[in-house]
């Protein structure tokens, strides 16, 4: 579904990604894991069009999307739930969700999508008239996920969803991501520092270090990998 081949990405003079390749197939959860400054966020910012690769190819369902504008890429069906949630704090939860349905196709079916979102996250229905800024961290994350779903994506990219959440809240959010994948059949690209959860949720993982993919494969196999165990799981 999504295929990235040997992309290089730079911020000005500094090259951050070196020959990064990864792929995501329809219906699966794929995790992109790595430490701070490994290039995870850069990778998905490049996929969603906020950054342009200097070399390499990104194709989505056969279309080359490298260099397209963000709004075009969203139209094609790739939506990012950005790191730090980035809700519109002075707008209500409902308004935040509605803003997610930007493309004409998504706008047409937004009433049904909102119902699905409320089924996944009943708390959002309760809070729908509240200002998004007044929600707790976990609720805000749910609102951000819900807003992402409102765009009717084919691929949902979730950046650092557990950032700043208590372990219990993080668990709830991770479980809801699994729920989204199961009930709606949503393809998800998860970007995480929490390696434990990533290995549990995702079928396959890519490990980024210093802007390079150093490991990849099915989560079950990676769990046994000595480098991963030592560097990320403290074993």
């Amino acid at each position: 579904m999504l295929k990235i081949e040997n992309i290089n990405v730079s911020y000005g003079e500094v090259q951050v990604l070196h020959n990064v390749s990864l792929d995501v197939e329809e219906g699966e959860i794929v995790a992109l894991i790595g430490a701070n400054a490994a290039g995870k966020t850069t990778t998905i910012k490049t996929i969603s069009g906020l950054l342009k690769p200097t070399a390499g190819k990104i194709t989505f369902n056969g279309t080359n999307i490298a260099g397209l504008s963000t709004s075009k890429i969203v139209e094609l069906g790739i939506v990012q739930v950005p790191e730090g949630r980035l809700l519109f704090p002075e707008m209500s939860v409902l308004e935040n969700l509605e803003l997610g349905a930007y493309t004409p196709q998504a706008r047409k079916v937004r009433h049904e999508t909102i119902k699905t979102v409320f089924q996944l996250f009943p708390i959002l229905e309760k809070r729908s008239q509240q200002l998004a800024g007044s929600l707790s961290g976990g609720e805000q994350q749910m609102c951000a996920l819900g807003r992402g779903l409102m765009a009717k994506p084919k691929l949902l990219m979730v950046d650092e969803t557990s950032l700043g959440l208590s372990p219990i809240m993080a668990k709830t959010v991770f479980e809801s991501i699994k729920q989204i994948n199961k009930t709606v059949g949503m393809t998800i690209l998860l970007v995480e520092q929490n390696v434990h959860w990533s290995l549990r949720l995702a079928g396959r993982c890519f490990v980024l270090e210093n802007g390079k993919v150093v490991l990849n494969g099915p989560s079950k196999e990676l769990k046994e990998n000595p480098h991963l165990q030592k560097a990320y799981l403290g074993m």
């Binding site: 969603s48 906020l50 504008s69 963000t70 709004s71 890429i73 969203v74 139209e75 939506v79 990012q80 950005p82 980035l86 809700l87 519109f88 704090p89 002075e90 707008m91 409902l94 308004e95 509605e98 803003l99 997610g100 930007y102 493309t103 807003r147 765009a151």
Partner: protein, 325 residues
């Protein structure tokens, strides 16, 4: 969007203009009429600025340039070719819209302070052009319009004619503003103001909506410029396109309530009469004192009610409702 309650929305607008019309009958003194006209005019200009500065959150400090473009376009057409200022208004809108589209494209790539500085530079460049393009604008000597009162010339024997014209200008700006605010585009602009990256990541075409806000805002400011020229009957670059004037549009909106429909109007109603009265009363004794008081108001508002006077009022209403409930 369906959750918007449409009912009762136009009531404040109708009530406000009813009061303004009543005032226009009460105020007969020439000095007070002048203040009244200036207040309506600045309320309109600040509301026009608010579309790009408030709704879209792009702090433009060059709006006097659009006012200047409007004033010079209509004045030159009138003086050199005898074109009625009514047609001049249309020409002013077209030119201001084109200039703002041209200037927005590169400057919207900048963010925050850098955007504000680029608009400040744009305003100054336009003023300097007006100053040195003597063949067209008569430079710093300025252009004066001979007073030939008639509706076709947009000049009125009685000052009250200008009162009504300023009122219509403000009404048009407010109606367009409220339409934008309540439209889907208004929500997108709001999203852009709150968090541009988040808005982009949702697929909102942020450049397009910012451009839209900027073009509408500039066009309305140009209409204000035409009015100004045919009221004062004299235009010159420093009186019309000084950056201090741009900043005044901005300050009124900030004091009243940035990004709210009525904020700029409230700001103008407070600031204009105050500074005009003080200028008249203090006169030679306290030269520049009105600016000190102006500054004090700004400081007090920012500390006490950072969202502007309108938001302070909303907070009080909310508290009263809580006590009642």
């Amino acid at each position: 969007m369906e959750f918007l309650k449409q009912r009762g929305k136009s009531f404040p607008m109708v009530a406000f203009f009813a009061v303004m019309i009543i005032l226009s009958f009460i105020i007969k003194n020439g000095f007070y009429q002048h203040i009244f006209i200036l207040t309506l005019f600045y309320a309109g200009m600040s509301s026009a600025w608010n579309i790009v500065g408030g709704y879209a959150g792009q702090l433009s400090l060059g709006h006097a340039a659009y006012m200047g473009i409007g004033a010079y376009t209509a004045t030159l057409l009138y003086l050199k070719m005898g074109v009625s200022p009514w047609i001049g208004i249309i020409a002013a809108i077209i030119i201001a819209a084109a200039v703002s589209a041209l200037i927005s494209y590169p400057s919207f790539k900048l963010h925050g302070t850098f955007f504000a500085m680029s608009t400040l530079a744009f305003g100054e460049v336009m003023r300097i052009i007006a100053n040195y393009w003597r063949g067209l604008t008569n430079g710093s000597v300025g252009l004066s319009i001979p007073f030939k009162p008639s509706l076709a010339h947009l000049m009125f024997e009685e000052r009250v004619g200008y009162v009504y014209f300023a009122m219509i200008f403000l009404a048009v700006v407010l109606v367009i503003s409220s339409r934008i605010k309540e439209s889907r585009a208004g929500y997108y602009l709001n999203a852009i103001r709150e968090n541009e990256i988040a808005a982009r990541s949702l697929g909102i075409n942020t450049s397009l909506y910012k451009l839209y806000a900027s073009v509408i805002s500039a066009s309305l400011a140009a209409v204000g410029g035409v009015f100004y020229a045919f009221y004062i009957l004299y235009i010159d670059p420093s009186g019309l396109m000084d950056s201090a004037i741009s900043i005044q549009f901005t300050l009124m909106a900030i004091i009243g309530g940035l990004g709210t429909l009525w904020g700029p109007v409230v700001g103008a109603i407070l600031i204009i009469p105050l500074s005009e009265f003080m200028r008249a009363w203090l006169g030679g004794v306290g030269q520049g004192l009105h600016l000190v008081i102006y500054g004090l108001i700004m400081v007090v508002v920012v500390i006490v009610s950072p969202g502007g006077l309108i938001n302070g009022y909303k907070v009080i209403i909310r508290k009263i409702k809580k006590i009642k409930a």
